[in-house]
């Protein structure tokens, strides 16, 4: 009898405790501002997957999609801050100034801005992912798997994020195969399936047998599947769209960070931070490797992934030269974050000029 009593007392205490914790947690409301529609199956879609993780952790969330990077963004942010949200995630580079401006007016609301660098007020944090680490892995696979030694790369806009990806990819591919050429086509869009498909087709017609992409739709991997060449998924695992063509994908995994930050707001431990997470922290995830990869390449890739995660290997390890042959990173040194953040020159071996 005594035993039962203790047990029920303990369990009711545990119950009460969880009730309190969840009650506190449920009070926190998080809002997300998206540049595109959640149905883009790319950038915004992955952020929304992260939002759902926050929801699954027991918090209330709201989101506003398709918000232009203009005065509209300010209006939306102000409204979200006014309507009782405790933390607001702004998930596009162009929200940088509106985020800081509105943050000043609402010191009690926490703001989290993706891919930006301005933290003008103590309630603004920034976060981004080291996608270039994933591209080091893709480059290694591409350089090994190509037979024509021509690798196609569909790029979106000439900004540091994209240039960094091209460089990291090419450096890794050159390391395993010094004869490769990276052909780049700028599509000047983040997602337009038709245009992306046309860009990929042009590259394939010109002899590329591995296609990499820095645009969001699944059109490119589908074209690769039809043409019988290899490709890589972007932002999410695109294997089911092209089971033969997709060798692996680099996934954006925002969920853990979002849950972490919202929990920090709930616990009162939130502080200003600049986060740049890569494979090691799980923000960049490499999908399953395709069976087309030979066993030794698979092993090599797995090791590279582990080394990138532990920091033993850095994507930008010198000597690195630019297209004109000037030294960018000295032998044995690695590029620092400042250099990476502002990277606007191609490394040696990339063909063509950066459109300006």
């Amino acid at each position: 009898m005594h035993k039962i009593f203790t047990r029920s007392l303990v369990s009711s205490l545990v119950f009460l405790f969880t009730l309190t914790v969840s009650a506190v947690a449920k009070d926190v409301k998080a809002a997300f501002v998206y540049i595109g529609p959640t149905g883009d199956h790319g950038w915004t879609y992955q952020h929304d997957v992260g939002r759902k993780a926050v929801e699954a952790a027991g918090f209330k969330t709201t989101y506003v999609e398709g918000v232009p990077e203009s005065a509209d963004a300010e209006r939306v942010l102000r409204q979200l801050a006014n309507s009782g949200h405790d933390v607001i995630f702004t998930t596009s580079f162009g929200y940088m100034n509106p985020t800081n401006k509105v943050a000043k007016e609402f010191p009690n609301v926490k703001f989290e801005h993706a891919t930006g660098y301005k933290r003008e007020h103590p309630n603004v944090s920034t976060y981004a992912a080291r996608f270039y680490e994933g591209r080091t892995i893709l480059g290694t696979i591409a350089g090994t798997m190509t037979k024509s030694n021509v690798i196609g790369y569909v790029a979106s806009f000439p900004i540091p994020e994209v240039i960094r990806g091209i460089n990291s990819f090419t450096l890794a591919a050159q390391k395993v195969n010094p004869n490769i050429k990276t052909k780049i086509v700028w599509a000047f869009t983040w997602y337009d399936p038709g245009k992306e498909a046309e860009a990929a087709k042009a590259l394939i017609d010109q002899g590329a047998d591995v296609i990499a992409q820095h645009t969001d739709s699944t059109a490119i991997v589908q074209i690769a599947e039809k043409a019988g060449v290899y490709a890589f998924g972007q932002a999410s695992d695109m294997d089911k769209f092209a089971p033969k063509a997709v060798l692996t994908s680099v996934e954006n995994n925002w969920g853990p960070y979002y849950v972490d930050r919202v929990k920090a707001v709930a616990n009162g431990t939130w502080n200003q931070k600049d986060t740049w997470h890569g494979i090691g922290d799980g923000m960049v995830v490499i999908s399953d490797l395709d069976s087309a990869l030979p066993a030794d390449l698979k092993a090599k890739v797995k090791k590279l992934e582990a080394d990138l995660a532990s920091g033993k290997v850095h994507s930008f390890t010198g000597p690195i030269y630019d297209q004109k042959g000037n030294l960018m990173v000295a032998d044995g040194k690695t590029a620092d974050d400042g250099m990476l953040a502002g990277m606007m020159t191609y490394v040696k071996g990339v063909e063509g000029d950066i459109p300006n």
């Binding site: 199956h41 399936p193 087709k201």
Partner: protein, 308 residues
């Protein structure tokens, strides 16, 4: 550059022109009857989601294609009812149709994001490598592709050589005289709007089922507006639509090829090329203003109602 390579490029250009040809030829018939429907983009996107959704749910490609055409027709019937029965303004109603189409397709499409499409069968695929240059152009395409390239000629024949075609043109030029001749203007215009809707639906289905088999919000990407511009560009001549669509579709593809070859032309210039060419063509065709006046449906965009 060998001849086979040019054949490959031409084949890609033709494939990219298909949705433009279908939507433009549909809109051309609508406009020839005197109705200006700016809802092309909206009808296309409705066709795209309907085709993709039906393909995913039923697994039957034939049902999906027909369903997409019916969906385009159905949404255009709203426009027809508003502009023909309630005599609303064509421009405003058409714009509303586009906004409505984009919104509702996104809503229906929520559950279809991230699902790979089915493979659409192509005809004569084995013959592709038998003839140099012409092989990839003539063979290995979907049935919709062949239909699209026959459509301008069929449309031309319909407008010029058939009695119904003549009636459509008469209604577009002078609904009052046509009505006095005993033609049911409302019926003709209703039919032309519905036909245009069905063709736009097919154009959208081509994008989501054949060209890039997937559903993504806003996936028509402004092609409806290009199709609308093409009708004007062609001075309401279906054969010229064929060439216009090839130029518009082709410029993007050629500029991608030039980038990949490494031609040092600023990308911005290449991206602006379609617009520059449009201006040039418009200047050239507008030199003969009489000819334009003759081919423009005189009562385009004007409402017609019978006094009783």
């Amino acid at each position: 550059m060998d001849i086979n390579f040019i054949g490959l490029i031409l084949a890609s250009i033709m494939a990219s022109a298909v949705p433009l040809i279908l939507a433009s030829c549909g809109e051309l018939i609508t406009e020839r009857s005197g109705v200006l429907n700016l809802g092309v983009e909206g009808m296309m996107i409705i066709g795209a989601i309907s085709g993709f959704a039906l393909m995913t749910v039923t697994g039957n490609l034939f049902i999906a294609v027909i369903g997409a055409m019916l969906a385009g027709l159905l949404i255009s019937s709203i426009f027809a009812f508003l502009t023909q029965t309630l005599i609303t303004n064509h421009v405003a109603t058409g714009l509303a149709l586009t906004i409505f189409g984009i919104g509702i397709s996104a809503m229906i499409g929520k559950n279809f994001v991230g699902i790979p499409g089915k493979e659409f069968p192509v005809l004569f695929d084995g013959l592709k490598d038998t003839i140099p240059f012409l092989g990839p152009i003539l063979f290995g395409h979907s049935v919709v592709f062949y239909f699209a390239f026959a459509l301008p000629f069929l449309t031309n024949f319909f407008l010029k050589k058939t009695k119904i075609g003549l009636i459509v043109r008469a209604v577009g030029d002078s609904p009052v005289s046509a009505s006095n001749q005993g033609i049911n203007v409302k019926l003709v215009r209703y039919s032309c709007i519905l036909y245009g809707g069905a063709m736009c639906g097919l154009a959208g289905a081509y994008l989501s089922m054949i060209y890039t088999p997937q559903w993504i919000e806003n996936m028509t990407g402004g092609r409806g507006w290009i199709a609308l511009a093409l009708v004007v560009f062609s001075t309401w001549n279906p054969i010229k639509i064929l060439f216009g669509a090839m130029i518009f579709g082709g410029l993007t593809i050629i500029q991608f090829h030039m980038q990949a070859i490494g031609v040092r032309i600023p990308v911005q210039f290449l991206s602006a090329l379609p617009y520059i060419i449009t201006i040039i063509v418009l200047v050239v065709i507008s030199r003969d203003s009489r000819k334009i006046r003759l081919s423009t449906p005189s009562s385009l965009g004007k409402s017609f109602y019978k006094d009783n």
